[in-house]
Amino acid sequence: MAFTIPPLQDIRPPRWVKPSFDGRQLLPALIPILACLYVGVVILVPALAVVVQAFAKGFGVFLDNFKSPELLAALRLTLIASAIAVPCNAIFGLAAATAIARHRFPGKALLLSIIDLPFSISPVVVGLMLVLLYSPTHGVFSGLLESTGWKVIFSLPGIVMATILVTFPFMAREVIPLLEEEGWEQEEAARTLGASNWQVFWKVTLPSVRWAALYGLILTTARALGEFGAVSVVSGNIRGETQTLPLFVEDAYKQYHTEMAFGAALVLAGVAIVSLLLKIAVEQLMDRDRSPGKETP
């Protein structure tokens, strides 16, 4: 009786076996196309519009925008406010991260949520809270401000405070999870070898979270440079004096200085794109540091 075994390569699943869920079907092929279309319409088209409109009347016109004293004043104010707010938030972020990740206490989850609060409060409400404290006419501290002659609302301190309040969680949020993951054996070892608190922080803790800290710094800076809502409430939006670059964009657009608005917007968009590229680079460095064998997404 002839009983032949078919050669191996001829064994295929019978017709009635369905292919696996993401097999060669129509839907799995459609998903990336739909995803790209949606992101294209919602995000890519507006992003490209900024670039195209900034150069719509030529490169020379784009450069001429930067001769405007109002734009330069706005750029300067934005840089000054960020230069004060970002280091303050960096110090707080690192202090909070070491304090929270290295302590166990009841209400830890609550404290983490409280630190996240500025993410869920509307920027406008943040601005309002500062107005209610420091307004010379309505504020809680109006008497104190009057007697000392300090000006907070409609001037630099208010803009800095608004920027700080909106951006302070970024650093702590990036560093805390990493610090908790790392454990504290290395720090204990450093202490048994006689290192002081300060030495442990600089030589052990900070190097171990350097990429997360850098990432937090990038996010803080990008958000600080671009903050609009909170700053618009407290700054008074006086052209050339208390107008930051994002406020300048809106003001120029309202005044029909469209090229100027898009020129300034391109500067801010450039910052956003640089921060995204840095973020990708830092993420790769973080993955490489964690474990060489671990798969990268």
Partner: protein
């Protein structure tokens, strides 16, 4: 303050007690966050309950709540569907331009809202790249209408669902799906009965985050909307208009309503993340 003993029964070292970083944290939080919150509560309490209720439920305020919360809900639900789709495309398939798609998702986080507002109001304006064709084809005007507000809210709440679903989808075991179709389930059944229940907490957390962000959004909406009361005025813009008119009490009342909403949404999002931890190996602290 009490501190639980560290692992392995070590004796609590001296440096472990409240120290410099602990003091900096609380001092900074007190100055930057608690003081403004307390000031707001103080001012809101000073308004008086009757006046508070009257302002908080005035017809204009109610119309802005409807606009803000209604459109934000629609926008975040749309992004719930498409966010899942995008996360699926990023994790479960390979196609050219995937890295670019991944990077673009974060753009609404990174792009200043004023820039987003400028770009959207141009693109969807009557002369814009998309606004023009849409108006010619359907007769609908996008900018300066509630539709424009919706476009801005969709833009800024897009990343949330993608970023919450991605890690859960990546950690799902393919074997479950294979087991499901081995047992005779169709693709659709497998998706609805096996995959979707595991992704649901992440999807809902993403929708809630997107909703919360969209409700509070000001910069991009103020540029694409006409800010006309009862037409497309949103609550944050109403607060700004009240401050500009020096009607600080009314602004405080509406601001307090927004603040209470933020606190509630923070609790809901945290609860959803705790629920979602069941499906994800720990780490919901991020």
């Amino acid at each position: 303050m009490t501190v639980a003993a560290p692992r392995r029964g070590l004796v609590l070292p001296r440096w472990f007690r409240p120290n410099v970083s602990w003091s900096i944290t609380w001092a900074y939080l007190a100055l930057v966050l608690f003081l403004p919150l307390a000031g707001m509560l103080l001012k809101a309490a000073g308004v008086g309950p009757a006046a508070f209720w009257e302002t908080a439920t005035s017809p204009l305020a109610l119309s802005t709540y409807r606009m803000s919360f209604g459109i934000a809900a629609a926008a975040s639900l749309i992004n719930g569907v498409f966010g899942l789709l995008i996360a699926w495309a990023l994790i479960r398939s390979r196609f050219p331009g995937q890295r670019l798609l991944d990077a673009l998702i974060d753009l609404p986080f990174a792009l200043p809202t004023a820039v987003a507002g400028l770009a959207l109001s141009f693109v969807y304006g009557p002369e814009g790249w998309l606004g023009g064709p849409i108006q010619r084809l359907t007769g609908l005007q996008v900018s300066f209408t509630p539709l424009g507000v919706a476009v801005a809210m969709v833009f800024i709440s897009l990343p949330f669902v993608v970023r919450t679903v991605e890690p859960v989808l990546r950690s799902l075991e393919r074997e479950q799906e294979e087991a499901s179709w081995c047992l005779g389930a169709s693709s659709a059944q497998t998706f609805v009965r096996v995959v979707l229940p595991q992704l649901m907490p992440a999807i809902l957390a993403g929708i809630a985050q997107g909703f919360s962000r969209a409700v509070g959004e000001y910069g991009s909406v103020v540029m694409i909307s006409s800010n006309v009361p009862f037409k497309d005025l949103i609550t944050p813009t109403l607060i700004v208009q009240m401050i500009e008119e020096y009607d600080i009490d009314a602004a405080t009342v509406i601001g307090s309503v927004m603040l209470i909403f933020s606190l509630v949404s923070l609790i809901v999002i945290n609860a959803l993340q705790v629920w979602g931890q069941r499906y994800q190996g720990g780490d919901a602290s991020r």
